[in-house]
Symmetry: C2
Subunit: 291 residues, 2 copies
Amino acid sequence: MSQFTDIVEKKLISYLPKTDNEDIQELVSSMEYSLMAGGKRVRPMLTVEFAKLCGGSEEAAMPFACALEMIHTYSLIHDDLPCMDNDDLRRGKPTNHKVYGEATALLAGNGLLTHAFEVLVSDEAIRLNGYDKCAKAVRVLSECAGVNGMLGGQMIDLESEGKSVDVEHLKVMDNKKTGALMIAAAKLGCISAGATEEQFEAACEYASDIGLAFQIIDDMLDITSTTEELGKPVGSDDENEKSTYAALLGLEECRRLAGELTDKAVSSLGIFGDRAKVLNDFAVYLLNREK
Amino acid sequence: MSQFTDIVEKKLISYLPKTDNEDIQELVSSMEYSLMAGGKRVRPMLTVEFAKLCGGSEEAAMPFACALEMIHTYSLIHDDLPCMDNDDLRRGKPTNHKVYGEATALLAGNGLLTHAFEVLVSDEAIRLNGYDKCAKAVRVLSECAGVNGMLGGQMIDLESEGKSVDVEHLKVMDNKKTGALMIAAAKLGCISAGATEEQFEAACEYASDIGLAFQIIDDMLDITSTTEELGKPVGSDDENEKSTYAALLGLEECRRLAGELTDKAVSSLGIFGDRAKVLNDFAVYLLNREK
């Protein structure tokens, strides 16, 4: 997995926009700062593995995988802004606006969001996937990152502040806020590979289940982990009076539910047989992660 | 022209995302608020007229035209935010964050930016233009709105604050900040129509020249117009100590330069003969506008 992370990170760097203008270079630097600030590269991993599982190639899926990681990174930069969560620390480093200022952080997020779509239809992406698959990738990414996907989840989160909500409400929110980009990761891999309808559906079910498990584990780590290990302050959910699975269900039930979702994700990939081993192991790795 | 504005505005509304979730509806409402807050619809007009001029249709160009207007609107919402220009008034109405709050305004801008790409590859856009033209439209829009286009211009603007800059610097900045989306408008029309290389180049020259003229007129109106007429406070450039063409060159030289650029834009369309009359008249209309 660390080998894959190295490959993705080299690609991410190579896909960043180039400029001779020194003012604009400052903007590119701020984009690179957050893009290269670590992270588990969960989404690119899913895209590439689903592409390979459905008969495609890592090479062809890579522009889609990296575009998605740019979208994920933009969402973190904007989430950390003072008008949103107002966070100072992310992955053990100062957040983008703490280093570059709010205005540049705003533009850096917009830059990554906009550039993701350029990467999806780059010469390389078109050469390896063709116009039709690239256009379909644009459709999937814009839908999953958009108002009925991730942005919708962020909006529900905003409107939930200070309200007491139930587990069903959290599920609707997280299915969009976290789940949508996980599902995008699976779909983008399938599109690149030209997957069958059956493969496509299995991939989406897997992604949806590990997406929810991922969020539940996140909530638990906010209680059980340390700031050093997590790279951001623990206990922030409690401090911000956020309703979480951990608070509503307790740690034991959370652990059970995350395990159940992981089992369900694994069984969704039954149609692929032993070839799904990497993705099955990955689901278990995400379940047992400590940061 | 007001007939065209009506058609575009109906289309813009129809392209907005739909939702049954009331929290998300608030986000869609804030997107609609800014999208429908008036505006001259200059960019959609250019896209549709260039499509028609190059043998395409208004119908096929419309998704591209509306996607571009969504990008333009997102840039205005984010530009007005407290961490950017901190403006309270836009087109005679309270700015988005004054009505919906900063967090929602941030998401509304992101929503319009993301949704623009969904519109470019919508079923309607694909049916009327095909996958190849839609993918090329994504490429043009992401490049022109991105780091080496509009966002780069905004970054140069940020970095220029409090510095005394010359006219050449302003031109580099505005060629990106304002010019890039004008050029995108022309290119998107040409792509939809399947224009020849010669037509494509003529369209880009025209758009680049009226883009710069547009910005020069904007600077002049900030001095010569009234707040009521302009829909935003006049004198704000002076107050923000912004270097402008008007301040650096004087009103008379600005008027001459804008006129020269308009003449040049018109002559770029010589290859189209009389059929370019609508676009020629439009360039003159923009030169003589009072808001």
